[in-house]
């Protein structure tokens, strides 16, 4: 039990840290940062819109890596990590998508445009929602782990290809604003650092959710084993 206590304490610690950081960031976003000429107050959504996307991307990548590791090592831990990462990734992708639509409503005047990144974000969401649907449909944990690992690899490759396809198809989305994306001086440095700060906050939140979801996955496996054991009695 000692090991569990240690894990639970670090989890709580991480959660508190994430909450504090989020509160501090929110305060700075609303109070501290200067205004933006054309967009008015709405531009502050970007501090959640963009980091949410980066966190979702990190989660999808984590799902890919842990799925590949599962196929090689066949350890249940990797399967639990892949499932948790995909689910948390979907939550952040939803945040990214919804905030994007609200921002688009003001700036482009319509809720939804078939713009490259908006469409691609929706496709990612559907592909990984399919992953969760497949997981729920398979009873045997070992087969579920194996098939969903294969699906996760297919999903990541397909999403990467879709990004290229949609980009050639049409793009209205504003160009890259971050210095790392080669957009010098497009953004006030204070604002840009806030994007990274809030990304860190969201990553912490993601990590906590991931840990909780992984423990639940292990609990589900335990329930399945007990149920099969009871069945065999």
């Amino acid at each position: 039990m000692k090991e569990n206590n240690f894990r639970r304490n670090t989890l709580y610690g991480l959660a508190v840290l994430a909450a504090l950081l989020l509160a501090r960031n929110l305060h700075v976003i609303l109070r501290g940062l200067p205004d933006e000429e054309e967009q008015g107050a709405i531009y502050r959504i970007i501090f959640f819109h963009l980091p949410a996307f980066f966190t979702a991307a990190v989660c999808y990548l984590l799902a890919l890596v842990s799925s590949a590791l599962y196929l090689v090592k066949r350890k249940a831990r990797y399967d639990a990590l892949a499932a948790a990462a995909t689910e948390v990734g979907l939550a952040f992708a939803a945040v990214n998508l919804i905030t994007g639509m609200i921002w688009a409503r003001i700036i482009w005047g319509i809720w939804w445009t078939w713009d490259a990144r908006l469409t691609w974000a929706l496709v990612c969401w559907l592909v990984y929602a399919g992953y969760l649907m497949l997981r729920r449909a398979i009873e045997d944990p070992s087969e579920r782990a194996r098939n969903s690992a294969v699906l996760s690899i297919f999903a990541f490759v397909s999403v990467a290809l879709t990004w290229k396809a949609i980009e050639w198809w049409r793009t209205q989305h504003p160009g890259p604003v971050l210095r790392i994306r080669g957009a010098e001086g497009a953004m006030d440095p204070a604002m840009e650092s806030m994007i990274y700060w809030n990304w860190l906050a969201l990553l912490l939140v993601g990590a906590v959710l991931l840990a909780v979801r992984m423990r639940q996955e292990q609990m589900a496996r335990e329930i399945d084993a007990l149920r099969r054991h009871a069945h065999a009695l």
């Binding site: 335990e222 084993a225 099969r228 065999a232």
Partner: protein, 232 residues
């Protein structure tokens, strides 16, 4: 070198151990009947031996090689719960298909030969869809013996067979044993299976609790093994 061997074999469904540290050796020419209640792990064991699923831990070897190698599978005959023949194909087409998959030099001739041995030559070009249950079972038996496998893995072979199919299967099994082939079958202590068996094994909740020669007492009283070795 034993025909069929398992070393520290484990198989998990999630965290549930369907097979726990199963180790055994079956010499060539022996006929092992594996007994056990439903869900004890008999079918799981046979599926791993026939290369249908992989062991979670430990190793399984048939004729000295891993069960999943293509070369090994060429000398294994499998007869599972399902009869595994195609409804839309004719009897000869079914056997020729599996003959080709198993790499026989002349699939057509071997297929014809096995149709005769299982008494199906008169329905050679009939669609399996129109076959009676017994005819389908005999075709399935022919499919399992087609490539003259040196190891035969049968999952409860006699349970759903009609009398004629039972007779055909028993003759073929007796003939196979005479030719020094090895047979491993799971069964519900059916008299037909125990009669042929030279060795008997009992699987209880994933563990191989008994493996030894099949004695006369076992044949006389099928429940003997369960009472002496099976847990309550």
């Amino acid at each position: 070198m034993s025909a069929v061997a398992a070393e520290g074999l484990w198989k998990f469904f999630g965290d549930f151990p369907a097979l726990r540290d199963v180790s055994f050796r079956v010499e060539a020419g022996a006929c092992l009947a594996v007994l056990g209640r439903n869900g004890a792990g008999k079918t799981t064991l046979l599926r791993i031996l026939s290369g249908l699923s992989k062991a979670s831990r430990g190793s399984v070897s048939i004729l000295g090689r891993d069960a999943r190698d293509a070369a090994t599978r060429r000398c294994i005959g499998v007869l599972g719960h399902g009869i595994a023949v195609y409804e839309e194909l004719t009897a000869i087409e079914n056997l020729r298909l599996f003959g080709r998959l198993y790499g026989l030099e002349n699939p057509g001739r071997t297929a014809q030969e096995w149709l005769e041995r299982t008494g199906l030559e008169h329905v050679r070009d009939g669609l399996v869809r129109e076959f009676s249950r017994g005819m389908r079972q005999r075709l399935a038996v022919a499919r399992a013996f087609l490539h003259s496998p040196s190891v035969l893995l049968l999952d409860e072979p006699f349970t759903a067979l009609d009398d004629r199919a039972v007779a055909v299967l028993q003759d073929l099994l007796r003939g196979a044993l005479a030719e020094g082939r090895t047979i491993l079958m799971s069964t519900h202590q059916l008299r037909e299976a125990l009669e042929l068996a030279t060795h008997a094994g009992l699987v209880d909740r994933g563990r191989l609790v008994y493996l030894g020669p099949r004695t006369a007492e076992m044949l006389a009283d099928p429940g003997w093994l369960y009472r002496h070795y099976g847990e309550a």
